[in-house]
């Protein structure tokens, strides 16, 4: 039974809610914030019209390079006219639908897999199957698909390939290294420490050089390992060392009592880690972990150095053509946008995971766990 209360419901004052309230709270709350707001507004007023004039009003979109040189504004033609080379690079022109389909499958699977409630055996098989299909599309050689050398893989598919497998493999490897570094067994511990410290003491570029120049020297004659694979391995090994240190931080933040409670239930080491310790420790370190994964994604552009043509490098080679020189601003803005979309999606997704994993606490009961 709902009973009407006798106390009149009073709305908060208009100045505290709605647009005015929002403005006061967020933009003009205090002297310093008001000054900052005005300065930023002033800056935008000065800069934005010019930018819009350049990027939209005076710009040309679908012209040749010559016409671009005549134009006042931005030359977006550098992107539109070269989009296929930018995105697919040296992949044979008439087969470029293959990497396109592969990328669509990858993005589709990633988007579908974002909900954990959908993770089950079927999805696992779907992943295995789609990885196989993607590999087939890229490499060819079966079902009448023309074989394409991995040296021809370039552009966005290469960037996505290196980052996807880089992230996928380095995370578990990093967790294992972190656990190894905490191990009671001195040899395992020493190996992990040496590995982590060595990798962290060397820039990624060096690792890539080593993988492409030095490593083949040690191989017996006639044996070659795919260049893309070597770069991939370097990225994985490099990222894993950083993940390991972040995860170690999470493990150290764990209360000793959690280990003791798990041990006293009779859980063995692997059960304890899997069920009790890692779920909590990995959750604590989601923000720095995602930071590392995002920078790993961006660092794939360093494969430029070993003459792999990722999307940054294909763009550069377009800009080196006489017809398109001088339009690097526009081209790089486009590349920046692609990187931004990927990185922003990752950070948004990580924040969602964090929210999902938040512990439920009632605010009024403050139990000190330790």
């Amino acid at each position: 039974m709902a009973e009407t209360t006798h106390i009149e419901e009073i709305k908060p004052p208009v100045t505290d809610v709605g647009v005015i309230g929002w403005l006061r709270q967020h933009l003009f709350n205090g002297l310093f914030n008001s000054i900052a707001t005005i300065l930023i507004l002033g800056f935008l007023v000065k800069v934005m019209p010019q930018f819009i004039q350049w990027a939209l009003i005076d710009s040309v979109w679908f012209t040749s390079g010559q016409a671009c040189h005549q134009a006042e504004g931005a030359c977006w033609s550098v992107i539109t006219q070269n989009i296929r080379f930018t995105v697919f690079g040296y992949f044979p022109y008439e087969h470029q639908w293959r990497p396109l389909v592969a990328m669509i499958i990858l993005v589709g699977m990633l988007v579908y897999s974002r909900e954990w409630s959908r993770w089950n055996k079927r999805l696992g098989y779907a992943w295995i199957f789609s990885l196989f299909v993607m590999g087939l599309l890229m490499k060819g050689g079966l079902f009448g698909l023309v074989p394409v050398e991995s040296t021809k893989w370039s552009g966005l598919p290469l960037t996505l390939l290196l980052s996807f497998f880089g992230i996928l493999a380095s995370y578990p490897l990093g967790v294992v290294l972190a656990l190894g570094r905490q191990s009671q067994m001195p040899i395992i511990k020493a190996l992990c420490v040496v590995y982590i410290e060595m990798i962290r003491g060397v820039p990624l570029i060096t690792m890539l050089f080593m993988s492409s120049v030095m490593f083949p020297l040690f191989l017996p004659e006639g044996v070659t390992i795919d260049k893309v694979l070597r770069a991939q391995a370097a990225i994985i090994l490099f990222t894993a060392a950083y993940i390991a240190e972040v995860v170690r931080g999470g493990l150290q933040a764990m209360d000793r009592g959690q280990y003791e409670a798990a041990e006293s239930l009779g859980l063995n080491y692997f059960q304890m880690m899997r069920m009790i310790i890692l779920p909590q420790a990995l959750k604590i370190v989601i923000p720095p972990t995602v930071g590392i994964l995002i920078s790993a994604f961006k660092d794939t552009s360093l494969v430029v150095i070993i003459a792999l043509y990722d999307i940054l490098n294909t763009t550069k080679s377009i800009l080196s053509e006489p017809e398109w020189t001088g339009f690097s601003t526009e081209a790089y803005m486009f590349i920046a946008m692609i990187y931004y979309i990927c990185c922003f999606s990752m950070s948004q997704y990580s924040r969602r995971i964090e929210k999902q994993l938040e512990y439920k606490h009632t605010p009024n009961q403050e139990e000190k766990p330790s």
Binding site: S264, L265, G266, N268, I276, K360
Partner: protein, 257 residues
Amino acid sequence: MSTEQNSSQSQSAEDKPIIEIIGMHKWFDDFHVLKDINLEVRPQEKIVVCGPSGSGKSTVIRCINRLEEHQRGQIIVNGTELTRDLKNIERVRTEVGMVFQHFNLFPHLTILDNLTVGPIWVRKMPKKEAEELAMHYLEIVKIPEQAQKYPGQVSGGQQQRVAIARSLCMKPKIMLFDEPTSALDPEMIKEVLDVMVDLANQGMTMIVVTHEMGFAKEVADRVIFMDFGEIVEENEPFQFFDNPQHERTKLFLSQIL
């Protein structure tokens, strides 16, 4: 050390001790924390250990399920001697339940999952059966309605009762309590002690480190007083409280009662 004085339990069918500690010593680095500890616990016995802080009382019970290692002497739990070579310490731990001062519930799991994780993974019990078992013990500790909540959502007293139920789900032969009420607000101590008294009345073998002297008088078969890493005095509760033998015991009792 004085000989065993557990006449009250002599009617127990099995008179073989379930825990035997013989001449046990322990050091933290150079610090000699436990000195020549001897203790026998028979099935269904209830033992209360008390003493000033730093006296080593928690360390003794932590040695019994090997959360701490001892360096000299023997500890035999349920027929298995605890040694460094022991491959299957998990097996011993499943027989020994432990309740901690700070509960140590798993904050990322619901209360129900806190209770079932042991039975499912250690006892290899089917999930449904484990959940029924968990609900059974949640009823025993009188909070079945909280099963789907997370530990952070219930009060301290309820958390400690969940922790007791979590240990009971492993159907242990022995329960160790390490100052189970010390971290609780006063009004919550009783609800936890009530559960422990019920458990004692049902014949559980218990070693309880506590300063709750009322509890000691009510359920203990023996009270052990420790100071500076030694067992100073060991007696039946009446004798212990009414007629303490040692100066240190008298001093301690005068301070806490």
